[in-house]
Point group: C2
Chain length 269, copies 2
């Protein structure tokens, strides 16, 4: 038994897709969410800066005595060196490993697509992880730099002509490669689920790394006897580095719930 909270962090709001799954799977756990909204997005920044920011984010969560740290951010998960993760005093997971496990289990033809931010695709973290499990897999990556600004601007409906055109531009090359499985390698992308499905004619299995990561947190805590013994609903706390009010309005898009009252603006320095 371990009653300490689970810590989740992201560059901003995308990680809320993972938070939501975690909350549904483990309702009695305390969860602390940290979003670095004052410096978002991470996906267009340099590797060096992302590692620096991620370490500051982790330090903040550790100062809240968390029992597990989930990097609910495709960019951080693809960039943070394994040795940094291994040196942490608590269990750490990104979203790459769990997503890749599921993709390898579900693909029939062994042709897997990966979409993500520029940096996520450039690092080829998903491709390397897939081939470590399934050496004969064919992996096709495509960077989708406009997906995050579209989602953060509230544009994700399949009926929006810009959303449709952008999705077709990014996804058609992957479709032509004959993929049967697609990893949505950025935690914003599950909001684009419908348009991605439509563009791919519902012929491709979509993997949501936030959901897979939440399942793997649940499994780790269960197997290691680290679940909370609490019987009532856990505490939820959100910390951000830009306006709490702005975070609440975007959070509503991701969570379909009002979290104002649980959000606090903090400074990392």
């Amino acid at each position: 038994m371990d009653n300490r909270p689970i810590g989740v962090f992201d560059s901003g709001v995308g990680g809320l897709t993972a938070y939501k799954e975690l909350e549904a799977l483990l309702p009695n756990e305390d969860i602390i969410y940290f979003g670095d909204t004052g410096r978002l997005p991470y996906g267009s920044k340099s590797r060096e800066t992302i590692i620096d920011y991620a370490q500051q984010d982790i330090k903040f969560l550790l100062s809240h005595d968390v029992k597990f740290i989930l990097a609910a951010c495709g960019t951080v998960s693809s960039t943070l060196p394994q040795k940094v993760a291994d040196a942490l005093p608590v269990q750490y997971s990104g979203v790459v490993g769990p997503a890749v496990q599921t993709a390898c289990a579900l693909t029939l033809c062994g042709r897997i697509g990966v979409i993500g931010t520029n940096l996520t695709i450039r690092t080829n973290a998903y491709g390397k992880a897939i081939r470590a499990i399934k050496a004969d897999a064919h992996v096709f990556g495509n960077a989708c730099p406009l997906f995050v600004p579209l989602v953060e601007n509230g544009q994700f409906s399949p009926k929006d002509p810009i959303v449709r055109l952008v999705a077709e531009t990014y996804l058609q090359p992957l479709r032509r490669e004959g993929i049967d499985t697609l990893i949505l390698g950025c935690t914003h992308y599950p909001l684009l689920y419908d348009v991605i499905n439509e563009v791919l004619d519902y012929q491709v299995t979509l993997i949501d790394p936030g959901r897979e990561a939440a399942k793997s947190v649940q499994s780790f805590l269960t197997v290691n006897g680290l679940l909370s013994e609490r019987q009532q609903e856990g505490r939820r706390e959100f910390y951000v580095t830009d306006s709490a009010e702005d975070f609440c309005s975007v959070a509503k898009i991701f969570l379909q719930q009002d979290v104002s009252g649980s959000v606090k603006k903090i400074s990392l320095s």
Copy 2:
């Protein structure tokens, strides 16, 4: 005579459009450019955070003993309170005032459009400044949140179907209002000059705030006897808060020149 450098800052790279004009108008002046690339973009962040970041940026330039500070960022220019600007030990200018002066001088029908980031349009800084000069003007604003990510992703050709569709979506409502003058209220937008002109059928005068601001810096320094007495080309220095290498590749898009060797990564904290 004043041989100290001119300081220019922006959230990242957009201010390079103003820098470029300044360099062309005042080749003998030393210029220090600061781009807060580690925290870009500013346009989607909160008012409070933007004021905080702008003050840190200004403090950095002042530590380099500049004689003039140009906020080459539409968002900062629309947000920084006048009393903060007035309290600075050196002359300060944003890009709003000069652009508005020119727009009011050039409009024939008195119907002026303004495009900018979410925050720039929300503050209505351009509208207020226009009506202070020309009380009977009609001002029509439209936020264009996808323009910055498009430009930073190297997408600004009128032949790019996404660029075209996004530009049409943002500009058609302004066209229908019968504007004859349009302020490009964000320093990234001059790179979209061609597509904006095409969508507006070359019927609307486009005002580039970076260019107008550079002209007003030249005029201020000339009138007040503050030009440098140097006879050869001035020194150029660039400071950024994310990777110097990444800045150089994007700077090439804006400046059509290689600035590597003059760029240094620094930390504001």
